[in-house]
């Protein structure tokens, strides 16, 4: 039977080969695409075979560095499954987009995207803290190379920012992991199961710091703007769509189950930061001069909402947060590909130069409208469904919390409507005429449509996803929920 290790292996090996060997642009691109589609196929198999009641599945557990008790222990539960599925889909779309829409990509870019996927799959399936760390830290290397070499004009500054923030977080986390691993009662062990409830407060905090930076959680979101602005569209899609989910996932699947007592004790702080970050991101998104700005700050708002959901430490909150991450991954990836398409074709993403795109562009207008409406969580959309779960969970926790957070619905409507109008409506910008081809055509369209279709399917029958997530999410927060007074 195919296990998650196979998928990680395929992504890593194909990724490495495409990066290192001197392929042509096309050959490298198609090989990488094939690799990402193979992973996607494997994940679809997982989705069918998944048994919601069977806990961790599709796993391997072998000794990796036996002297230290480090094991290659990977497995998939419902929450992991959701994250892995969306990772596979977004990666495939990003590679497809780079291949068909970006004419100047080097073959190595495709390989690096696949390597990022391999690390991310490891993050989402690791049951061993050291393996988790390798994935969490390792994914940054291909991403940073992509940003540093193929980024925009101010990429250097962006790389410095990203490194400054993440290095701060993850190196401290490594210390925490080593502490947990080496103080295990029966000799060194990095298994997550052995670390439950053992960590002192400082380890909780270094973990939380690393995850908060990655998420990004207010007020540690400073690296987001330069990184999302300077990346090429497909890298920005991977960064905001799936790489940031490592943070949100880690809060739910690592921090909360490993530190139930602290998670319960300090939940109020994360809920408060989530609320503030949500408002903060929404307000800032409302005044950005270009698409990337709007998407970046709306991402901050959405991920703050995820953190809020996780720290409700309830079934509804955890399931809603996982579902929210899936939705946001699809939406922000689609938004970045769309915005990036117009921007790279026209030479500027500023609304002042690029408005009124709806005229004579029925396909672009339709896709932008669908994604925009999904992003503002119009009732009936999948994002609405996930926000509903989180808000209901918040309301069940404390009525005023649910009521305040619900105001976000209005804020999201405000900034997304402004974005839709700025892109599609009113006066045509002066650079619009230079778009070639004028409307979304096969290449970029084929890369974006799967994301849109996934959103539509999740809107029609969100229960198909939530019934797979539900039990696992419940299990992850169960211990912390019990501690709660």
């Amino acid at each position: 039977m195919i296990t998650i290790s196979w998928l990680i292996g395929v992504a890593a090996i194909v990724g490495l080969l495409v990066t290192v060997l001197p392929f042509s642009r096309r050959a490298g691109g198609y090989l990488a695409l094939l690799g990402s589609l193979a992973v996607l196929g494997g994940v679809i198999g997982f989705i069918y075979r998944f048994e919601p009641s069977a806990g961790y599945q599709f796993g391997d557990d072998v000794a990796w560095i036996p002297q230290l008790g480090i094991r290659w222990d990977v497995a998939v539960d419902g929450v992991s499954l959701a994250m892995i599925a969306v990772t596979a889909l977004v990666t495939a779309c990003a590679i497809g987009y780079g291949l068909w829409a970006g004419r100047d990509r080097n073959h190595a870019t495709y390989g690096l995207l696949l390597l990022t996927e391999a690390f991310l799959l490891l993050v989402f399936s690791a049951r061993d803290l050291f393996a988790f760390y390798v994935g969490f830290e390792g994914m940054l290397i291909p991403l940073l190379i992509l940003l540093a070499i193929w980024g925009g004009a101010e990429r250097r500054q962006a790389v410095v920012q990203v490194v400054a923030y993440t290095a701060l977080g993850t190196l401290l986390m490594l210390v925490g992991i080593l502490y947990l691993g080496l103080t295990a009662p029966d000799g060194p062990s990095f298994a997550m199961a052995d670390a439950v409830g053992r960590g002192p407060d400082w380890v909780f905090w270094v973990f939380a710091l690393a995850f908060a930076i990655k998420s990004p959680l207010f007020p540690l979101h400073g690296w987001v703007m330069p990184a999302y602005r300077q990346s090429s569209p497909e890298v920005a899609a991977v960064l905001s769509g799936i790489a940031s989910k490592a943070g949100g996932y880690a809060f739910l699947a690592v921090l909360v189950p490993l530190f139930p007592e602290q998670a319960s004790r300090f939940a109020w702080l994360f809920i408060a930061l989530g609320l503030v970050g949500f408002m903060w991101g929404a307000l800032l998104a409302f005044r950005q001069p270009d698409s990337r700005g709007v998407i970046a700050y709306s991402s901050i708002a959405q991920m703050s909402f995820v953190v809020l959901g996780v720290f409700l430490l309830s079934d509804l909150g955890a399931t809603g947060a996982t579902f929210q991450m899936v939705n946001h991954a699809l939406i922000s990836a689609a938004l970045f590909l769309l915005a990036g398409w117009a921007e790279t074709k026209a030479g500027s993403g500023a609304f002042a130069h690029l408005g009124g795109l709806a005229r004579n562009r029925p396909i672009l207008a339709t896709v932008v409208l669908i994604v925009g409406m999904a992003a503002l969580a119009v009732p009936g959309s999948s994002l609405f469904a996930s926000e509903f779960l989180i808000l209901l969970g918040a309301f069940a926790e404390a009525w005023w919390l649910g009521a305040i957070a619900a105001v976000g619905i209005v804020l999201a409507a405000m900034y997304m409507l402004r974005w839709i109008s700025a892109v599609l409506h009113e006066r045509e910008g002066d650079l619009v005429g230079s778009l070639r081809p004028p409307d979304l055509r096969s290449g970029a369209l084929v890369a974006i449509v799967p994301l849109v279709l996934a959103l539509v399917l999740l809107s029609v029958a969100p229960a198909q996803l939530t019934e797979r997530i539900d039990r696992s999410a419940q299990a992850l927060v169960a211990a912390a929920e019990e501690v709660a007074p």
């Binding site: 002297q67 230290l68 190379i145 005229r359 309301f395 409506h425 009113e426 029958a461 229960a463 997530i469």
Partner: protein
């Protein structure tokens, strides 16, 4: 029977998808006819379902069915389910029936517009959303329909998206309705936490378990949604701006169907409102204030569609009074007749606008009766129905509401009664001000130049536009006869089972007395309008009521609600966003890391002889060295 309801719901969705996918491959007219035929089929299905429902004994007329589980987590679960009862049937018939007529009307009205197919796709999407709203069997799905009608309303108001004013109006409508959505969502949270279910059957069966405070809060939250969607105080300011959309949209969405959803919501949740008397009183107060204010504002407006829009707000306020008095049948009855005569008035206005090449200012009209006699006649019937002149439809339904107030007899009900009668006077004035200024008197220079010429060429409009208007005219004339006090009780008897707590029903003498007073006041209003506007030319200073006076100024500025919202919400929000962006978030993001770890990394980067990507390389190196070193140390120690 439920299959027919599903079919009725699915057809407009299928039409929308077909138009979306086929797109420009369809001939323009074909798109219009696909959209219209889909609506006709949906109407037939709805009518068949209603007939089957009527054939059942009364206690079996509440049918529900679940298609699949829509969303589920923990103990929360909500299905894609429908609820079909007498109230659903009325709404279903109104939405599909009037919807069909307006689709046909649009075939003519939108002819020549480059975006013809998109228009019909959006119209079908709207109808699907509206049907979803009325057939939904639980509060979440109702909220889905609620949000989707808001979405399609947004798309249709901003249909001509090159116009900045249209885009602004569309956004305004969406945001104000999003406030309403939040109200309903929070109401749903409260009800789920208290009752553990959100299906109608489950909630209504357990409504009595709620204490009064909880029930009141829940109902007030639902009321926020109702107020936003139905353009009632204080969330009404989007409706007049929504007139930026094409006229058939105003007829369908902003007169006959979507804006009445708030009334439907209150009537649907009557078992809950029965537990919350204060919430019902609030509904009445909102209705009273709204019907007077909107009626007064309508008297001074100069845009033909905005006059009708304020009239709509005023008439929905009557419906609010009706359901607030627990005379749910009367509120829904008025919703029903209003759908006919208000759609008729909008479509008549559409004919006028069509003949005048898009002109909407009544100061540029006048004397059109001579060139457009058919339109004049139809609109006259609509106007009489709106004012409530016997025996046209609006009178029966409005007087049913007012006489219910008389029957209830509490102080608040008396206030509602008197306000409603004053409202009848105002209705007479503004309605016939419009009729006289548009159709009577001397033609304005603009109308003189355009209208005779246009009518000579095209007649008063193509048949696709005229026939729907004729049918609505018949409806506006006769639907009131369903409920003649003391004679027929069709509407009351049909809707009686939806309110387990019972409904208010006035006696026939109360109704006839009210009708007498209301018709007299309506006639007085018409006389005032005739006195003011029927003499000579339609000069600007005559159209305005007491120019320069404080009240007139307030009314022309729509009682300053827009100005208030701008000062209280829009400007502070824009200022806060700009301030955060410029002075807090931007600088902080740059400052934080660079002074701390950033300096360190930059330093490391330099020492590793930075090239373009030096920082990454050095970072990877630090990472690898760090991990490797630690591993080495541990290995040595562990061995």
């Amino acid at each position: 029977m439920t299959e027919l309801v599903w079919i009725s719901l699915a057809l407009p969705l299928a039409g929308f998808l077909a138009l979306l996918v086929l797109g420009t491959r369809l001939p323009a007219r074909g798109a219009g006819w696909i959209g219209s035929l889909v609506m006709l089929a949906a109407f037939v299905a709805a009518a068949a379902a209603t007939i089957m429902l009527a054939g059942k004994p009364e206690e079996q007329r509440q049918v529900s069915q679940v298609a699949w589980t829509w969303l589920q987590a923990g103990n929360f679960s909500v299905g894609l389910d429908i609820w079909f009862d007498e109230l659903t049937a009325v709404m279903l018939l109104v939405v599909t029936g009037i919807g069909f007529l307006i689709h046909v009307f649009s075939v003519g009205y939108m002819q020549g517009d480059g975006q013809y197919r998109r228009f019909f796709a959006y119209l079908n999407l709207f109808v699907f959303s509206m049907l979803m709203l009325v057939v939904s069997g639980n509060l979440v799905l109702l909220l889905v329909g609620w949000g989707l009608v808001g979405l399609s309303s947004y798309l249709l108001i901003g249909f001509w998206h090159e116009k900045a004013s249209a885009v602004k109006a569309a956004k305004k409508a969406f945001v104000m309705n999003a406030i309403g959505d939040v109200g309903i969502a929070v109401g749903a949270f409260l009800l789920f936490v208290e009752l553990g279910t959100l299906t109608y059957g489950g909630m209504f069966a357990r409504a009595a378990e709620l204490d009064t405070a909880t029930a009141t809060i829940a109902c007030l939250l639902l009321l926020v949604g109702a107020v936003a969607k139905s353009a009632q105080l204080p969330l009404h300011t989007w409706l007049p701006d929504a007139m930026e959309g094409p006229t058939p949209v105003s007829a369908l969405i902003h007169a006959a169907t979507m804006v009445t959803a708030g009334v439907y919501l209150i009537a649907r949740f009557n078992p809950l409102f029965a537990e919350a008397p204060y919430a019902l009183d609030t509904v009445i107060v909102i209705g009273v204030l709204g019907l007077l204010m909107a009626g007064a504002i309508a008297v001074v407006q100069t845009d033909i569609k905005r006059i009708i829009a304020f009239s709509t707000m005023s008439q929905i306020a009557y419906m609010f009074v009706g359901v607030g008095l627990s005379a749910y049948w009367a509120g829904i009855f008025h919703l029903f007749t209003h759908a006919f005569f208000k759609a008729l008035l909008f479509m008549g206005a559409g004919l006028v606008i069509h003949a005048l090449h898009g002109e909407q200012d009544i100061r540029n009209m006048g004397g059109l009766k001579r060139v457009m006699p058919k339109t004049w006649f139809c609109m006259l019937i609509g106007a009489l129905a709106l004012v409530g002149i016997f025996p046209f439809s609006g009178g029966f339904s409005k007087d049913a509401i007012l006489s219910s107030a008389l029957h209830v007899g509490t102080p608040l009900a008396w206030v509602a009664y008197i306000a409603g009668l004053v409202g009848a006077l105002l209705t007479g004035i503004y309605t016939f001000r419009l009729m006289f200024l548009v159709f009577h008197g001397r033609m304005s220079p603009y109308a003189e130049k355009v209208a005779p010429h246009a009518v000579e060429h095209h007649g008063e409009g193509p048949r696709t536009m005229l026939w729907p208007v004729y049918i609505l005219t018949i409806g506006a004339a006769v639907t009131g006869l369903l409920q003649i006090p003391g004679v027929t009780h069709v509407f009351f008897d049909w809707l009686d089972p939806i309110a387990p707590g019972g409904m208010v029903e006035p006696s026939a003498p109360q109704e006839w007395l009210t009708t007498g007073i209301a018709v007299t006041l309506g006639l007085v209003g018409i006389a005032i309008a005739a006195h003011l506007y029927l003499r000579g030319s339609a000069a600007t200073d005559q159209i305005r009521l007491g120019r320069g006076r404080l009240i007139a100024h307030a009314l022309e500025r729509r009682v300053y609600w827009d100005d208030l919202y701008e000062v209280v919400f829009e400007r502070p929000a824009a200022w806060a966003a700009a301030f955060l962006r410029r002075d807090v978030d931007g600088p902080a993001a740059r400052w934080l890391p660079l002074d701390g770890a950033g300096t360190l990394t930059a330093f490391l980067g330099r020492t590793f002889n930075v090239v373009e990507n030096g920082v990454v390389r050095s970072y990877a190196l630090v990472f690898a060295l760090g991990v490797g070193g630690l591993l080495l140390y541990l290995l040595v120690r562990g061995a």
